[in-house]
């Protein structure tokens, strides 16, 4: 009998091939027909919009560059609206039939909700962002349990209003990527936040002095791991607790995680929870509309995205309970 894979890894490649052939492909074949229909549906409004734009140029040849840009923006907006409307049902079906299976492939106990997301209250409670978002949305919520730690993650996109040089308000992305939260395995009383250290990375020691003047955060915690300090800045009200959380081993693991995935996540530890925000500028678990979805590589990418999130369980040692934190109420 083969050994089961670690909890953070989905089943091995041979198993993925068979899973793809037997479980995903039949679903993908059916959905591919739907995708082609949507693509055809979208072609007519696209052609119509194109013809309208050409017509406008023909009727008004002296139309200025501003009018041209306006027409292009309106056209793009209308196209996006058509595309979203036409593909909504398809996306729902794709997520329910394909992504749900991908999640089960990783672990049968995990739950998936295509249009669910991490609660905004949890996102705000993490304190990773110094400002509450003006617009918040997310999808692809996965929840599960590893040993004694309940965890959940989803894609999150938060935006804030900023003013440009002319004083106009516009929405700007504050965070886009995977947001992960779980029960942490140590008792905590305070709030510790770990964020990417851009100041020190670009300005060296001067950057470190600037970090100390960051009034939107708690006190700077300077740690002894040089590699970790280059990547991250730690803020907390309790210097001892910050070091209790960030043991030498955890710092090393976070450095390795950043190097391996070329990502610098932000983390927060508060109460019983750990929060991790991994900025990745892509849409997770989304079907394609203009090219085939019967693509094994694409499905493997879905699995890799799952594994990235699940690897946090191991990196943060959430599956180990060697500290004296009391088990959750329902386990007593």
């Amino acid at each position: 009998m083969s050994e089961p894979p670690p909890e953070n890894e989905c089943r091995p490649k041979e198993s993925f091939d068979s899973f793809y052939e037997h479980e995903l492909l039949p679903e993908l074949k059916e959905l591919e027909v739907e995708r082609k229909n949507i693509r055809s549906t979208l072609i007519y409004p696209t052609l119509g919009l194109g013809a309208l734009a050409l017509g406008l140029i023909a009727v008004m040849p002296n139309m200025g560059i501003q009018a041209l840009i306006l027409t292009a923006i309106t056209g793009a907006g209308l196209f996006t609206w058509f595309k979203t409307k036409a593909s909504m049902e398809f996306r729902m079906e794709f997520k329910n039939r394909v992504i749900r299976k991908v999640v089960s492939h990783c672990n049968k106990e995990y739950r998936y909700s295509g249009f669910g997301s991490i609660n905004r209250a949890d996102f705000d409670a993490s304190g990773i962002m110094t400002r509450q978002p003006d617009r918040y949305q997310g999808d692809d919520l996965v929840t599960g349990e590893s040993k004694q730690s309940k965890f959940s993650f989803s894609e999150v996109h938060s935006e804030i209003y900023v003013k440009d040089s002319k004083g106009r308000r516009r929405l700007q992305t504050q965070f886009k990527g995977l947001f992960f939260m779980a029960d942490f395995n140590k008792n905590l009383k305070s709030h510790t936040v770990i964020v990417a250290d851009l100041a020190e990375r670009f300005l060296g020691n001067m950057g470190q002095q600037l970090q100390k003047l960051n009034f939107s955060r708690a006190d700077l915690v300077q740690l002894e791991n040089v590699d970790f300090e280059k990547l991250y800045a730690v803020y907390g009200r309790d210097q001892v607790e910050a070091r209790y959380i960030l043991s030498p081993k955890l710092m090393e693991r976070l450095v390795n995680f950043s190097v391996k995935h070329e990502l610098t996540p932000s983390l927060a530890f508060r109460g019983t929870q750990v929060y991790v925000a991994i900025p990745i500028n892509k849409d997770f678990f989304e079907p394609r509309i203009f090219s085939t979805i019967m693509d094994k590589e694409l499905c493997q990418e879905y699995v890799r995205d799952m594994e990235l999130a699940l690897s946090l369980i191991e990196e943060l040692e959430l599956d180990k309970r060697i500290w004296s934190k009391a088990p959750r109420e329902e386990e007593k």
Partner: protein, 128 residues
């Protein structure tokens, strides 16, 4: 069994010496380091007693001990980090002038044992 008995006797003696007071900072650190090493050794010797290792009370003790160790380690690291700032202040201008006039002296760092730098291994503790 004799080894375990000797270890416990020595631990008790060290505790009495520590509680007796009158020790310099360096002596206190030496005793704390020795107690730490012996405690760690004692926990590893439990490997020889499978019944004890599986005992629920002992497992709770191990978890509590582990917790205390990590808390102490975090406090040591915090102390050393603060001391680094303090010692740097004694060397740098203009704080150097103030420190000299106020009679501040550099202090010794608390030595962090190699085992703590390696960190606690759950595998070693629970042999899982």
């Amino acid at each position: 069994m004799k080894h375990e008995k000797d270890t416990l006797v020595e631990l008790t003696e060290l505790r009495t010496r520590y509680q007796g007071g009158g020790l310099s900072m360096v002596e206190q650190q030496q005793i704390a380091g020795k107690v730490n090493r012996m405690g760690r050794g004692l926990m590893l010797q439990v490997e020889n007693y499978p019944d004890l290792k599986a005992n629920q009370n002992f497992m709770q003790l191990q978890a509590a001990w582990n917790e205390v160790e990590e808390q102490i380690s975090a406090s040591r690291r915090t102390y050393n980090a603060a001391l680094k700032d303090y010692n740097n202040g004694l060397e740098q201008f203009p704080t150097k002038l103030m420190a000299r006039s106020m009679g501040y002296q550099p202090k010794e760092y608390i030595e962090i044992p190699e085992e703590e730098k390696k960190n606690i291994s759950a595998k070693e503790l629970f042999n899982s």
